[in-house]
Structures are given as C-alpha cells and as structure tokens.
Symmetry: C2
Subunit: 434 residues, 2 copies
C-alpha cells in the first residue's frame, strides 16, 4: 500500500446550514432543525482533498466546529502512511486528547467532531486508492480491517480474533453478493410520508405517491401529545400501504419506558415492523424492557447512540433487533466497523440511519459493505432514504425504484460542491443574507 507520501497540510472547517426549519420538513416529536453540516476539508500537498462532515441541526454547528478546530493540530502535518501505519494510535490521539476527553468521553459535540475528521481521513484514503468507500472496505485485508478498531472497553464482547474471523468468513460468496448489488441495488425505505408537521391530507397524498413510486417500506413519526393522533395517521398510512408493505414507526425518544409500552399497544393494530427510538437513547435497560413488552415488534435505535460501548450494551441486553448506525455520530469508520461486527456476532439486523443532509451519501457505503463482507444477507436490511438536498453533492446518491445503486466515484461521496458551500455558509453566505 502506498499513498505517494500524501501529507495533510491544513484542516479547514465550514459551517454549512440549509434553511429547512421554516419549511416544516423534517419535523418530528423532538426536532425542528435547519439541516446542517459541520464540514471538514483536509487539504493536501498536491493530492486530493479529503472531506467529511457531521450532521447538525443549525444552531450548534459552531459548537462542533469549535471542537474540530481544537483537534486540528492532531491531523495537520500527518501523512496518510503514518496514520494508517497505526490507526488506533491515531484515533486515540484525538478521542483521548488529555485536555479534551473530559468533555465526553466519547460522546456529544467532541465525539461528533472526531467523526467528521476521521471520516475525512478515510475519504482521502479512498480517493488516493481510487475506490468508492464500500469497495475500499469490502476489498481490504481482514487483518488490516480488524486492526482499525479500538477494542478497549468492548473486548468483553468482541476480540480482534473474532473480528478477523467474521471478516474472513465475509469473503465466501462475496462475488455473488456484489453481482446482486450491481444488478438490483440495495433496498431502501422512505421517511418522507409521515412527518408530524404534515396534515392528514398531505400524509395520504404522500403515501399514495410513495406506493406509486415503487416503495415497499415507509416510516412514519409517532409521539404526538395525544396517541390518538398517531393512531389516526397510522390508519391512513396503513390503509394506503395495504397489508404487505412494511410500516415503521419512529418516536424520536419522546416517550418514557411505560409510555412506550402503553402506546405501542394502541399502535400494534397497524402491524409496525419496528418502533424506533421509543425512549431516551441512553436508556439501555429501558429499551430492553420495551423490547420484551412489544415483541414481536422490533425495537430499533442507534442514530444518537454515542459510541461503541452503548451499542455493546444494547446488544448484550437484547434491547434491539435493528441496529441503526449513523456514519458521523461516533468516531468515524473504525467505530462504525466495531459496531457492525458486534451486531453480526449477535445476529442483529443493520439498517443505517439516514436523511438529514449528506447522510444518505455516507451510509449507502456502510450498508453495502455490511452486506458484502459482514452480514452476508439482505434479510432485514434497508437504508433510510429522503429525497432532499442531494443536489449539493458532487457524487449524489442514485435511488431507482426504491433501491440505492452502487456508487462508483472514489471516496465517501460526501464532497459538497464549492458553490453550495459558498451559498449556504453561515452566517455570511448569500442564503443567510437574502
């Protein structure tokens, strides 16, 4: 492996915000946000620019940007060879920075900053190797891949040898699975039909449109102050979907544990495939109680699970049957990899979190890699899809007939167009000074 000595000369961070809050898109029981990116560029000495970002909600992007800046000196001046010669040491140099780790450890704004930076490093590597991220990961040597992970605090659940064994087994039938993706793409589902901010009429019309567009799985938001409103909207959506299409529900953390159990009794009539984020994301024991109570409805969570230790426990407690990794909430590719392997060991389905801005571009690679090299099945696999803001990316997702197509350009697909950065930079971009 050679990267021609490419060295990271300068980290640049952009606060890019899209004014989505006023449009009412993306409203749920908790969030009303301007979809935003704390966007990182790693400029090199003549090589490509590595790009990564963390999804944020408008105000607050500057907090993550402040964290990225505090870490910049740990990546500037480093060569890609150096970083990948000892990837855990590199990750720890940021995650365990002795004066900053107190703000976590491994959670919140600082850990999201780590995710943006580490992903940008991986994007740079993928561009140097001329491979889309899914292919870089799927073709990598098992030992090298397993060596990316920091096993500290998860070794009671996953050892390096176990990780390597899973990845080795993932070579069996690889070419066949790749042909499936090349021919059919990867399953997706739509979250565009049932936001809380939409009227019943709009929900019905959007669900009808989704069915017409070929979607076989759709997700609605629940968690209205009165569960009767959720029940009514679930009735509309299920009516349009018919009995065979999947309906997922997402409570966005609003319920207490007893409320989740009680409310799902009312919503069970509409045959939900999963209930997502039924309660506080830190409540592992609560999720486990809910999972037992709502069985056979699946419990799904993960988009705000702070780190691999939280995922470890969700799996150990049998609290989730669907693992919804996010690409940039945790410390980037290596920590996602740890979670994918732990989920595989437990036989838990992986359905990455997406939507927002740029998340579809990110997680398509993770879902595809998981299928090709770890889980080896499309059973229960779907990637969330929202048709929103893709036009700002140089390599946007392609979704046809409800399926993601394989990305072909080198990198992690999250490079923003220069003109989009300029237009939506906060607070000085023209979009914020109309």
């Amino acid at each position: 492996m050679t990267f021609s000595g490419t060295r990271i000369e300068r980290l640049e961070v952009h606060d890019v915000r899209f004014p989505t809050a006023t449009a009412g898109d993306g409203s749920d029981s908790i969030n009303r946000a301007d979809y935003s990116a704390c966007y990182v560029e790693l400029h090199t000495d003549g090589g490509p620019t590595g790009t990564g970002f963390t999804f944020t909600g408008g105000r607050g992007t500057e907090i993550v940007a402040s964290a990225v800046k505090a870490f910049a000196h740990l990546v500037e001046g480093k060569s890609i060879e150096e970083i990948f010669a000892n990837p855990v040491e590199f990750s720890r140099s940021i995650v365990q920075e002795p004066q900053i780790r107190w703000l976590g450890p491994e959670k919140g704004a600082t850990h999201m900053a780590v995710g943006a930076i580490v992903n940008a490093v991986w994007d740079l590597r993928a561009k140097l190797e001329g491979k889309p991220m899914w292919r870089l990961l799927a073709e990598m040597d098992s030992a090298e891949l397993a060596a990316q992970i920091d096993y500290r605090h998860i070794e009671d659940e996953l050892t390096p040898a176990e990780a390597e064994a899973i990845l080795d087994e993932g070579r069996t039938g690889y070419e066949d699975r790749l042909k499936v993706l090349q021919a059919d793409g990867f399953p997706a589902y739509t979250t565009s039909v049932g936001w809380l901010g939409y009227s019943d009429e709009k929900v019905r019309a959007l669900t009808e449109q989704a069915v017409a567009d070929g979607w076989t799985a759709a997700k609605m938001k629940v968690g209205s102050p009165d569960v009767a409103d959720d029940v009514r909207r679930a009735g509309i959506i299920r009516d349009v979907l018919g009995p065979d299409r999947l309906l997922m529900m997402d409570a966005n953390q609003i319920w207490s544990v007893p409320e989740a159990i009680e409310n799902m009794k009312h919503l069970a009539a509409f045959d939900p495939y999963w209930i997502e984020e039924p309660t506080h994301p830190d409540d592992i024991l609560g999720h486990a109680r809910i999972a037992k109570a709502v069985n056979p409805i699946r419990v799904a969570t993960g988009e705000v699970a702070a780190n691999r230790v939280i995922f470890k426990q969700l799996l150990q407690a049998e609290a989730i049957r669907v693992c919804q990794i996010d690409a940039c909430r945790v410390g980037g590719i290596p920590e996602v990899l740890a979670t994918l392997l732990m989920a595989a060991k437990r036989g838990v389905e992986v359905c990455p979190h997406s939507g927002g801005v740029g998340l579809c571009e990110y997680v398509q690679h993770l879902g595809m890699f998981e299928y090709l090299r770890i889980g080896k099945t499309l059973e229960g696999r779907m990637i969330e899809y929202v048709d929103h803001l893709h036009e700002h990316y140089t390599d946007p997702v392609t979704v046809v007939d409800g399926r993601y197509r394989l990305p072909t350009q080198p990198g992690y697909s999250v490079t923003l167009k220069d003109e989009s950065i300029a237009e939506f930079s906060f607070p000085n971009g023209p979009a914020w000074n109309a």
Copy 2:
C-alpha cells in the same frame, strides 16, 4: 417568594485556565489537564451577579464556552420570577433547544454548558434570598423542590409523589442534623496522596502528612500499565494508613470489564473501601458485572455520568453502591436533585466528586443538603477534598481536621475573584503570557 423583579440582562462567559498540567498534579491513568473553568456570569439590573461554571481540562474550554454562547439568548432578558414560576419549562428550553439537542441529547459539551448556566441561575437566586445554597435547598418547601425536576425518562424509577415524600420525611430530625454539621462539619477524604505522577517516596511522605493532618480516609489512583505498580503503591499507602483508616482506589475508566475484575483480585489484599470508575463510564452492564465480582468492595462512579438516565440505570442494575454526583457535569441543581432522590430510594451512599478547581466549593453544599434533607445519615458519606486553587474564590471552602465546615455566605460559593479571572483568562491573561 419575591426577588424584587430581578432580571438577567447579560450572560458573560470566561475561559479561565490554571496551568496545572506542567506541575504533574492531578495526573491519573487518563487525564493530564490544566484545571480550568468555563465560567458564567449572569449580570442583572442592579441585583447581584449570578455565577456558575463547568470544570474543564484546559484545551476544550472554548468548546463549552461556544455552547454557553449558543444558549445565552435563552436566559438573557428573563427574570428570576419567570424562571422559577416554571423551572422545568426553563430547563427544557435549554436542554431541549430544538437545533442544539442533536449534539447530545443531555451529554457532552452542550450539557456541561447547561450545568454552568443553570447553576448560575441558582446561585443568583440564593444570593437574592441571602442564603448559602445548602440552606436554600434544605429549607425549601418539599413540593417546590420536587417540582424542579424533569421526570421525563426517569418516571419509571422516581415519581413526583415519591420525590416529595422523601423530601417531607427529610424534615424529621432536621434540626438535630443541622446541629451536627454546625458542631462537627461534614466528613471529607483526601485525594492528594496517590497521583500516578508521584514517586513512591512522595506517596509515602504525603500519606504520612495526611495521617498527621488528621485524615481518616484517603484515595489513590490505580490503572498503571503494570498492575504490580499499583500493588506496590497500595502497599506503601496501606502501610502508612494502618488497618483502620479507609483507602479508596480510582481507576479513572482505564480498564476493560475483565481487566477490572482481574486487577481488583490483586488489589483486594489492601482492603480498598471502594473502586472508583473501574471501566468506561457509559458501561452500566459492565459496572454491574464488576460490582458482583468485587463484592464486598464497593463500586463507585458518577463524576462523568452524563445525565439522570445514566444514574437511573446504574441504580436499577445495582451497579454502584456509592453515587459520586458531580455539580456541573449534568444540568445543574435540578438534575443533581433527581439523582440524589433516586439514590436515596435505593439506599445508595452519596459521596460527591470533587477536586479540580471550584468543585469542592460546589459540592460541599450538595453533600450537606443530602445529609440534612434526603439521606439523613452520615453513614458512608464523604466529600472528596484537594487543597488546591481555593485562593481564587471569594468564599473558599473551610476544611478543618478532615471535615468541611458549613458555608455561611449567600450563594453557591463558586464566585471567582475578579483578579483571578483577569490573571488566568485564556489566552490573553498575564498567566498565559509570562
């Protein structure tokens, strides 16, 4: 209750850093920090200034400061009457700010910023009422106190009625307990004897000094790369302490779950009273396993527990026997109160986390209030003490013969001297430009 209409006009935040890292004080298995405060002043229209802070580790203080600034508009312009007329609504307006909560929720830099702000609001109220914080809390009506708590996501463990009942019971014998504090003060222990950065000779000398100074409980850091080093140092300290004084051990999160269990087998010979932070602070199930394995040695944790939902689970899983609340890690007084009440319900001992800078000043009030009104016993109660940086406060702690004396000045005791703010402000203070 009247506060003469006092209104918060302006929030000011200071990045105050003390250059402790180079001195080697405060070194442990993970942290090497410049003790710092993200310090908040709430300037009012003619009333006193409310002050609060979050403890930080040097670099990174600017990240919390950025979060404080992002929240400032939610407190500026509000009167103390307004805030306390609906305290949960006020807390939620910050904690659940719809564009910022994505960076948590309720964890990391943003939640620490909430802690600094909410504590400053409470400091302002205590100053307006002319009471030290312990007295303000201990004398407050049970219903009003119970109404400070946001029960969302903990109501499966603690209801408002249960909270109020515990606080009501806390009135019984109150005057007697107050007399005990007035006469004898509150028990403390010292953490100054056994930092990892110290030589064996220094450890022996400091332990001898601690015994001579009247300390009956001392804490050492463990988690050296080779457990033999911990064993050797434990031997020195136990030798000096003799069999009757308490020796606590603190691993600062370094071990995996199996390592913690294994290493404590070696250290059990020195009769540790508790093992603190044996593994990753998010690992509730791991703490529960360790607690079972090391019994009768107590497991203690809490200084970086992100919020009341983490504490709820640590208690539900019987993972801790010592609850080490921090004053400014979580969302200030109301969230600490929730944790104290949950601990009381489970019969778990409360020993607040302290040290750093300003933490002794903060937590003395919490320990005393817990004794007076919630736990009603000094059994197993001790507050950490480090004789460090107290000279920068206008109302520093008084510790005599290993016991904290009751604070008497109004407020939360964390107001920095103006000259200390000026001297140690980063990066422009003289201390950083020598």
